[in-house]
């Protein structure tokens, strides 16, 4: 039996067309030894959750710069639960006002990363949700 690989889906829901941040994170997580499924721009919550199901990922990372996180994130969380994927950890990155973070966390988001977060922090946070230490 070979070692388990952490599989992460990086998705950009909604209409904003800037995926530089998402790509930087995807690359950093690859460099941290994870398998990153990158789905590209303008994904609906339905598409994201269906991809998470088919790819059997451990983590979904949502990159949102449009300000629509208040609608998109709860919808993704709801659909994940509906499909029996409640064990999947959801992280949100992008432009999220400080005041909105507690609400997202209460809804079940495992972490929120604003601009300038060191990518090593993102990888470490993901590892912690997967029951792995920061090492490696």
């Amino acid at each position: 039996m070979t070692a388990r690989k952490i599989r992460v889906l990086i998705a950009k829901p909604g209409l904003d067309g800037h995926d530089r941040g998402a790509k930087v994170v995807a690359r950093a997580l690859r460099d941290a030894g994870m398998e990153v499924i990158y789905t590209g721009l303008r994904q609906t919550p339905e598409m994201i959750v269906e991809a998470a199901l088919q790819e059997d990922v451990d983590v979904v990372g949502l990159s949102i710069l449009s300000g629509a996180h208040g609608d998109l994130v709860p919808r993704v969380l709801h659909l994940l639960r509906e499909k029996g994927l409640e064990k999947v950890s959801v992280f949100v990155g992008g432009i999220i006002p400080e005041a909105d973070i507690p609400g997202l966390q209460a809804a079940g988001v495992a972490g929120v990363f604003g601009p300038g977060t060191p990518t090593t922090d993102v990888a470490a946070a993901i590892r912690r949700t997967q029951g792995e230490g920061d090492a490696g």
Partner: protein, 313 residues
């Protein structure tokens, strides 16, 4: 375990996804499940799509998948499974799997299942678990399984052992570079596709490929790979590709070539499994120190040939 078998056989997508992950890490229970599912496999049409990086394999795979799903070449709509393999970084063990970007038009269709796989160190253009994943999709009732390889050069020909029909994708402008392909992946092509055929040079690429096939002269089992032109982004030529895929499938059935290939493949697979098991059994029984012998070979105290004789003696 019984429930996972039943759920996969019933086409449950979540069960299938979980089974593939467990097969990727060679979980013994998952391998046992696959073994139990074997009798339900053998129905699917398995098509490999391979070619150099940047030739548009993902877009073409998505376009072909969408067409088969709708019902192409006068056939019933097919349930379509897609396995897309991308390379694992040899330095970090991580991978970016980006093939879904080109497959977004297939989203939201229950009759399509797309799975990205990292090569995880395998060098032949696939991953070690690709074969198992094909069998899992087959058992789950997918009619057509499209396997897109890593972007390959000349030597990554594992797909020819996994797929019934191999589509090799090239692009115009390769010019003399096609020469370099002749001893490599061109030889495994059942169908040759010049994708991005709206770019200049498509006709001369077709000419080079035709000349290459003439040189090959093979025409064994009277199948000459057709040379097709497609534009994956617009779907141009993809209907013809679907027709040729079905025509090749019929050829395999009619000529007996399909059965011959499958038996050959099964035998190679059995021998590979046997050699693994026999080695493990020999190790356990003989208690010989292969590592120590390797040291002697490196220290030039004996040759590898002598070492094997000593180990078996």
């Amino acid at each position: 375990m019984a429930t996972l078998i039943e759920r996969v056989a019933a086409g449950d997508r979540r069960a299938l996804a979980v089974l593939i992950s467990r097969l990727e890490r060679e979980d013994p229970e998952a391998l046992e499940i696959l073994s139990q599912l074997h009798r339900r496999t053998g129905r699917a049409m398995v098509v490999g799509i391979t070619g150099a990086p940047g030739t548009g394999k993902s877009t073409l795979t998505a376009a072909l998948g969408a067409l088969l799903r709708k019902g192409a070449a006068g056939r019933d709509p097919q349930r379509v499974g897609i396995l897309a393999v991308d390379p694992t970084s040899p330095f970090t063990g991580g991978a970016i799997l980006g093939d879904r970007i080109r497959m977004r038009d297939l989203a939201g269709d229950e009759g399509v299942f797309i799975r990205s796989m990292a090569s995880r160190g395998a060098l032949g253009g696939l991953s070690r678990a690709t074969d198992s994943a094909v069998r899992a999709l087959d058992a789950a009732g997918f009619d057509a399984i499209l396997v897109e390889t890593v972007g390959v050069g000349q030597a990554e020909t594992d797909i020819s052992r996994q797929a019934q029909t191999v589509v090799v994708v090239v692009t115009p402008g390769l010019g003399d570079d096609i020469q370099a392909l002749k001893a490599g992946i061109l030889e495994i092509a059942d169908i040759l596709v010049i994708n991005k055929a709206d770019l200049p040079g498509a006709d001369s690429a077709a000419g080079s490929l035709r000349a290459m096939l003439d040189l090959g002269g093979g025409a064994e089992n009277d199948w000459r790979p057709p040379i097709l032109k497609t534009v994956g982004t617009t779907g141009e030529g993809v209907e013809r590709l679907a027709q040729e895929v079905f025509r090749h499938r019929e050829h395999l059935l009619r000529s007996g070539e399909g059965e011959r290939r499958e038996r050959e493949r099964a035998q190679a697979d059995l021998e590979r499994r046997l050699s693994g098991r026999l080695l493990a059994r020999w190790r356990a029984a003989a208690g010989r120190d292969v590592a120590e012998m390797a040291r002697k070979v490196v220290a030039r105290e004996c040759s590898p040939e002598e070492a094997v004789e000593k180990l078996l003696g």
